[in-house]
């Protein structure tokens, strides 16, 4: 199916153009003269994308043609925003982008038969949960804004939660593929509520426990939310029982309420969300300045490089963590509501393509894997944009492919690689004779 790859190639051109134009805009703002450096950056980016494209043409000729260009668009947009904040950070980010693509290629190279993941599902899940502990280990752990999110070994720093989310999705997809029937059949109605059979539900409780653990022990409210939402999404897709979702949600809310009233860190986050004006110069500063920055952007925004990030003449942040948590506020500030809606639309398109992959996939594991990966990606975008726009309490997670951060970029490229692997097989099988397709449809 080379037409899919041709569509991918075509779609990459506007991405490179966008990057070039974005850099040009930032340059002209900072240097008041337009160098050809922006063209060089654009050319580099296009070259890397085309190399990736050629690799996909060889390895995964049938994979979805839009996912890679869409994610490249987000990366390009993120690079421009980060470059506009700090040149050095953008250079780091570009390096992470290249490293991300290397891992992307390696994943595709060695996980062509991704069912192999099913065999190691417990190893993967336990490994994923164990690395979460690392940030609390003395010597290598790092505390940022009260949360234990990062690990630093020598010059290398990373956030394990970004990788754990993929491990958990792989585990859940595999586990639910095997147990979904018994979960449905074995369900009992107690007092009018359909309860899942406890025997098969045990391992799922582990996931719930892990989420609560993250909430409390490493204080990563955002990732905890993402994990649990992805878990509920998969549970619903696998069993079709909405009541399970309701029960799960109730469990999460009870747990969250319990910890919100006992753990100060969680309680504070909720408080700031509800009453930011109580302490506008202190705890409410970040979320208030987030919406002030958005108000400043208006419909069309101030333009690339025009928004205020620090108080002029000082290093005092006007928009704290502009390159990570707050990057969406900066986007609204600089490219306005129209630009921000464009970004949200790209996330919607990625979600659409991701769920399309799940729909096309032939076997249960592939379906659940694609659904889980897409859900976890979309929910992460929702959690951070929702935090920045005060839909939900603000938590420190990255905006996928846009925020500054190596772990985020690399992990999301691995996620993309898995999605493309599923897609390639699904579309290849879909193109085969109808008799076989009907058989597959029955299992779906």
């Amino acid at each position: 199916m080379t037409s899919a790859r041709n569509r991918e190639l075509l779609a990459l051109v506007p991405v490179a153009a966008l990057l070039t134009a974005g850099f040009a805009a930032v340059f002209s703002q900072e240097n008041e003269q337009l160098g050809n450096l922006s063209l060089i950056y654009g050319a580099y980016f296009l070259a890397i994308c085309i190399a990736t494209h050629v690799y996909l043409r060889i390895r995964l000729p049938n994979a979805d043609p839009y996912l890679f260009p869409l994610m490249a668009t987000l990366t390009a947009f993120g690079l421009v925003m980060i470059y506009r904040i700090d040149e050095g950070l953008a250079r780091d980010q570009a390096n992470w982008f290249v490293l991300g693509l290397v891992l992307f290629a390696l994943t595709i190279q060695f996980l062509r038969d991704y069912e192999v993941l099913e065999r190691y599902r417990y190893t993967i899940a336990i490994g994923g949960l164990l690395v979460l502990l690392a940030p609390r280990l003395p010597g290598i752990g790092q505390q940022v804004n009260g949360a234990y999110l990062g690990v630093k070994i020598g010059p290398l720093a990373f956030q394990p939660a970004e990788f754990t989310k993929i491990a958990i999705v792989v585990f859940l997809a595999s586990y639910l593929r095997e147990h979904r029937e018994v979960l449905i059949v074995g369900a009992r109605r107690v007092l009018g509520v359909t309860l899942p059979p406890l025997k098969h539900f045990g391992p799922m409780l582990v996931v719930w426990g892990a989420s609560m653990f993250m909430l409390v022990f490493i204080r990563d409210l955002g990732s905890s939310l993402i994990f649990f939402a992805a878990f509920l999404a998969l549970l619903y897709v696998a069993t079709g029982r909405f009541s399970f979702v309701v029960i799960g949600m109730a469990m999460f809310l009870v747990g969250a309420w319990f910890f919100a009233s006992t753990v100060p860190h969680v309680h504070e986050r909720v408080d700031i969300w509800l009453h930011p004006y109580d302490d506008p110069q202190g705890s409410g500063y970040q979320v208030l300045n987030s919406i002030f920055a958005q108000a400043d952007g208006g419909l069309f925004g101030k333009g690339f490089g025009e928004a205020l990030i620090t108080v002029p003449g000082t290093d005092n942040a006007l928009l704290p963590a502009a390159q990570t948590d707050m990057i969406y506020a900066l986007i609204v500030n600089e490219v306005g509501l129209f630009g921000a809606v464009g970004v949200v639309l790209i996330y919607m398109l990625i979600a659409a393509r991701g769920f399309k992959v799940a729909l096309l996939a032939g076997d249960g594991f592939s379906k659940l894997l694609a659904t889980g990966l897409t859900a976890v990606f979309a929910i992460q975008a929702f959690v951070i944009i929702g935090g920045v726009t005060r839909v939900i309490p603000l938590t420190g997670v990255t905006l996928p492919f846009i925020s500054y951060g190596g772990s985020s970029i690399v992990a999301n490229f691995v996620l993309l690689a898995l999605l493309l692997l599923v897609s390639d097989r699904a579309r290849r099988e879909a193109a085969e004779p109808p008799g076989r397709m009907a058989a597959l449809g029955a299992t779906a």
Binding site: Q281, A295, L337, G364, A378
Partner: protein
């Protein structure tokens, strides 16, 4: 499982829809309200990055300008006031930490170049950096300098000079003055100073008993309503019992069969007291309102920095109207609970000088864009037709008598006919004056030349033991002379 996947997809779309909804709310629908929030420092910080336009005196003297500090993204503009205290009032200040005041605040939009929505969008598209417009005021630098210097000699108070035909403000000074350049350093100290109150513009915020200068309003009401003519005589005894308290003339002097000219020239209290009673509440208040009382003057200064003149019920912090019971005899001579700002009394003089028509006072004259084009010019507008031209002419004659042979001879300018009225309100026990028993509020209002008025002035001095004719009239004379000479 496909059905569930589609439903999950729909749910995710709804979530993203909510994000778009919230983003729209903050960035567009609630944006204006957010920009008004105190916690939001952005609007001020952004304004600081715009070179704010200059403010100039009529002769081109730079009153306020912006100087660049720092480079690149840290570049910002800071306000400088080269003349220091001279224009502190009424120009005010503009600093990020302390906000803005007076003229700087009122004309903020023009000064930061936000005058027209269309041109700012066009500028944005063309990539022009926003730049403020200059504003030229009508302030006469030399007269302003002289007025402040003389006032600093005389005591706390204010001088306001208006051009009667246009309402242009030629002089507005307030003593104690302040240097706007020092606002970032001395703001707290000044704000706490209850005696000098340097940040208060006494010209627009100083509420003082106007004393006998108010007789001009009473006379105007009498003549214009037809209650009296210049020939009408009233018997004015040295002492008159009003509401149980005797009302007295200076030295208890009797003026039997006195006309308006005699009564105004000698500032006969019992004459005007009887006229006030004869006029009644409705007529007197009607004319007060026509002269600008009972309303915030329509000057180009922030409304909360301009006080309303009238009969103040200070306990309830409200201005009384014709419906309220007042002691008309004492109101007619500027007592009762009547309080007026120097700006208000300048408006009274200005209306008489302009044939009975009161113009809206305006400080600004022209707005000029960074390319030197005149964007806008002050269009003089009428506030009210206070009295007929005939009444104004009759009042002018009577007020000339005050300067020629009455209480205001110190206001006379050689070779120039001058019309005016003195005022001395006793303010014993005024804490602002240190509680002394012989303290007065001294006034002079008037205009010159009487036959072709070019300038109308009110001068008012707080806490003085002298009379209006002795301490305020000379200030009037010198400032009027300076303005008239400057125009030749």
């Amino acid at each position: 499982m496909n059905r569930q996947i589609v439903k999950l997809f729909a749910f995710v779309m709804v979530l993203f829809g909510v994000l778009i909804g919230f983003t729209s709310y903050w960035s567009v629908f609630d944006a204006e309200a957010l920009k008004e929030k105190n916690a939001n420092k952005r609007p001020l910080l952004e304004q600081q990055q715009i070179p704010r336009g200059r403010i100039l005196a009529a002769d081109g003297t730079v009153i306020a300008k912006s100087v660049a500090k720092g480079k690149g993204a840290a570049k910002r503009y800071v306000r400088r006031y080269p003349e220091g205290t001279l224009f502190g009032h009424p120009i005010g200040y503009s600093f990020v930490q302390y906000g803005d005041s007076e003229f700087e605040q009122f004309h903020n939009e023009e000064l930061v170049g936000e005058g027209s929505e269309f041109s700012s969008i066009a500028d944005e598209l063309l990539g022009h950096a926003q730049e403020g417009n200059d504003i030229v005021t009508s302030i006469d630098t030399e007269a302003q300098r002289l007025a402040l210097a003389e006032l600093e000699e005389a005591g706390y108070g204010a001088v306001v000079a208006l051009e009667p035909s246009t309402g242009a403000v030629k002089v507005m000074v307030s003593n104690a003055p302040y240097d706007p350049n020092r606002v970032p350093y001395d703001f707290e100290k000044w704000n706490a100073d209850e005696v000098e109150r340097p940040l208060v513009n006494r010209a627009t915020q100083g509420l003082y008993p106007p004393g006998s200068t108010f007789k001009v309003v009473t006379a105007a009401a009498g003549l214009d309503s037809g209650a009296i003519t210049p020939e009408t005589t009233i018997d004015a005894p040295g002492t008159l019992e009003v509401e149980g308290t005797p009302l007295q003339n200076d030295f208890n002097q009797d003026f039997f069969g006195a006309t308006l000219d005699t009564a105004l020239t000698n500032s006969v209290n019992t004459w005007f007291g009887q006229l006030g009673q004869q006029l009644g509440n409705d007529t007197l208040f009607k004319y007060m309102e026509r002269f600008g009382f009972n309303a915030t003057p329509a000057i180009d200064l922030p409304e909360d920095e301009v006080e309303e003149s009238g009969v103040w019920d200070l306990e309830n912090e409200e201005v009384l109207t014709a419906k309220d019971p007042v002691d008309l005899a004492r109101l007619a001579i500027g007592q009762e609970r009547l309080l007026a700002t120097p700006l208000q009394m300048a408006q009274v003089a200005s209306a008489v000088a302009n044939g009975g028509t009161l113009m809206k006072p305006q400080i600004w004259k022209r707005e000029i864009d960074p390319d030197g084009r005149v964007v806008d010019t002050m269009d003089p507008s009428v506030y009210s037709e206070a009295v007929s031209e005939e009444t104004a002419a009759e009042l002018t004659t009577a007020m000339e008598g005050v300067v020629n042979e009455g209480t205001g001879t110190n206001a006379a300018i050689p070779g120039v006919p001058v019309a005016g009225k003195t005022g001395t309100a006793e303010t014993p026990g005024n804490l602002a004056c240190g509680g002394g028993e012989n303290e007065n509020q001294a006034w002079f209002i008037g205009f010159a030349p009487a036959d072709d008025p070019q300038i109308a002035i009110a001068a008012s001095v707080e806490c003085t033991e002298q009379f209006g004719g002795d301490i305020a009239a000379p200030i009037f004379r010198d400032v009027a002379e300076a303005i008239l000479n400057g125009e030749e």
